[in-house]
């Protein structure tokens, strides 16, 4: 059974903007999936549905066999503890150090303080920021800030990492480094789902590509290239 399943998912925003239209997709455990398509194709909606920022208008979404549309409000936080999220704009808290930013993710889910330090250190090591722990976000480069954000997303060892345009604000060289990092994380068993516009990255990685257009699935290639413009 697939790990993440979308069954005939439709999302309509009021008044009647259809963001996703009857989308069915399955993603297995440990996969690396690119979500591509022009702006407004439904990539962000797909991601918001995944961590239940939104619920589908019609259809069913299962993660690990559980319907997440039917989750109770009080269960949503526990779903999110299994999903790491990375954004284009990093969303680090500027008044805190890198270490504090990452530790925050553990503190607010009430991990015991004794565990927090080693786990944060390990996460920073994984993203190669151990020597930046005491610095503030504004002292870091864009790539380093995104690494800090990724450290925060993986510090709780989520089974899924969702990234919405994580390289959108970065130059090509830095983007490649971030992609290498995401690939490493994926090798260690985390399912990675990344929405992106960056066709060069998609083409060079040869991963599964799910292409959306106007909310519909237009292509699903095992080792795909971007190519919706082609």
């Amino acid at each position: 059974m697939s790990f993440i399943q979308f069954y005939n998912v439709t999302k309509v925003y009021p008044p009647n903007i259809t963001a996703l239209d009857d989308l069915s997709v399955k993603i297995d455990k440990g996969e690396f999936v690119f979500l591509v398509g022009p702006s407004g194709a439904g990539k962000t909606t797909f991601i918001r549905l995944l961590f239940r920022e939104e619920t589908p208008t019609r259809g069913q979404i299962l993660i690990g066999g559980r319907s997440i549309a039917r989750l109770k409000r009080s269960e949503v936080p526990f779903l999110r503890r299994n999903i790491g999220i990375v954004f284009q704009d990093f969303r680090l808290l500027p008044e805190w150090t890198v270490f504090e930013n990452v530790a925050f993710a553990l503190r607010v889910i009430e991990v015991s303080p004794r565990e927090i330090k080693p786990r944060v250190e390990k996460a920073l090591e994984r993203v190669g920021l151990s020597n930046r722990a005491r610095m503030f976000p504004h002292q870091l480069s864009g790539g380093e800030q995104q690494r800090a954000a990724i450290a925060r997303a993986i510090v709780n060892n989520p089974r899924i990492l969702v990234a919405d345009e994580p390289t959108g604000n970065l130059d090509p060289a830095t983007s490649r480094e971030i992609m290498k990092l995401l690939e490493e994380i994926n090798y260690q068993g985390t399912t990675v789902i990344m929405a992106t516009h960056a066709w060069d990255i998609v083409n060079s990685m040869r991963k599964r590509v799910i292409a959306l257009q106007q909310g519909r699935l237009v292509r699903d290639d095992r080792e795909g290239a971007y190519g919706y413009e082609a």
């Binding site: 961590f51 920022e53 939104e54 409000r73 009080s74 936080p77 526990f78 779903l79 999110r80 503890r81 999220i85 969303r91 808290l93 925050f104 993710a105 503190r107 607010v108 889910i109 009430e110 015991s112 303080p113 925060r152 709780n156």
Partner: protein, 297 residues
């Protein structure tokens, strides 16, 4: 909404920090809670006291039963005995018209001309002074007496009591209205104060949601902040009302003969405690309302 002990410290620190960062708004909220709760307390005690006075008045009143002027003395005695036999009546005194005239002329300074002025005829009727056991039955008893033959008019100061009760009712509505408006103002100020905090920490809150913090984990610091604002405000009000009323009790001294003040420590304590509870409620409600929108989805 369970709070783990080790995170409690974090919540309290966050709440204290926010209070301090918006110190002027915090003070304004405290003051507004204090003022509305103080007025609530003052009104409560006023209403209790007026009720108390009314109850006193009521238990003191007796029924005055005026017989028809031409009622023979014989019939007067009969009426007296009938009234005496009524359930709930404890005491009946017949005051003959001669006695009544004497009392009246004494009130006017003992002028004998009173009788002369009326042409030598005593214009007064005989009347009965009736006391009842239970004040609440006075209305019934009076009505029953009024139906007896030979009875001209029954008077038991009902108008005074009823007017007093009307005033109390009116006071209650007015007080409730004013307190409602002031309470709403206090609630509003608390909501604004806490919303300032919520707004300044909105990015933190959104990250907390993304990484899977529970709603209550996010709420607690704000909840504590609101509770604190409400408790401090109403605490000030409660203290003022308590000491103020005690001061009134000791200073009023001789005046209390005329206006009996309620001296019931338990009631006073209860009123004051309900003020504190009211303030806490306003604070808690305010904080929950301010964060609600930020927790959605």
């Amino acid at each position: 909404m369970v709070m783990k002990l080790r995170t409690a410290g974090y919540f309290f620190r966050q709440a204290a920090l926010s209070l301090w960062r918006n110190i002027w708004m915090s003070l304004a909220s405290v003051a507004s809670v204090a003022i509305s709760m103080f007025l609530l307390g003052a009104f409560l005690l006023l209403v209790f006291n007026v009720n108390y006075i009314a109850a006193n008045l009521q238990s003191n009143v007796e029924i005055a039963v005026f017989l028809q002027v031409d009622t023979p003395r014989q019939v007067a005695y009969q009426v007296r005995d009938q009234v005496k036999a009524m359930p709930g009546v404890t005491e009946v005194t017949l005051v003959p018209k001669e006695e009544g005239l004497k009392q009246l002329s004494q009130q006017f300074g003992g002028q004998e001309e009173l009788l002369e002025a009326t042409g030598g005829v005593n214009p007064l009727p005989d009347y009965l002074r009736v006391r009842v056991a239970v004040p609440e039955t006075i209305h019934e008893v009076a009505r029953a007496i009024a139906n007896l033959p030979g009875v001209e008019k029954v008077n038991y100061g009902q108008e005074v009591v009823e007017r007093l009760f009307a005033v109390v009712r009116w006071l209650r509505w007015l007080g409730a209205g004013i307190i409602f408006v002031l309470g709403l103002g206090a609630l509003f100020l608390i909501i604004i104060t806490i919303r300032l905090t919520v707004y300044s920490r909105r990015r933190e809150i959104s990250i907390m949601k993304y990484v899977g913090a529970t709603d209550w984990f996010i709420r607690w610091p704000f909840f504590l902040e609101g509770l604190f604002l409400g408790l401090v405000g109403s605490g000030c009000a409660a203290l003022t009302v308590y000491t103020g009323y005690n001061l009134l009790l000791t200073r009023a001294g001789a005046a209390r003969v005329f206006i009996p003040l309620l001296n019931d420590r338990g009631l006073l304590l209860n009123s004051v405690l309900s003020l504190v509870a009211g303030g806490a409620l306003v604070g808690a409600l305010g904080s929950l309302l301010s964060i609600r929108r930020f927790l959605k989805a």
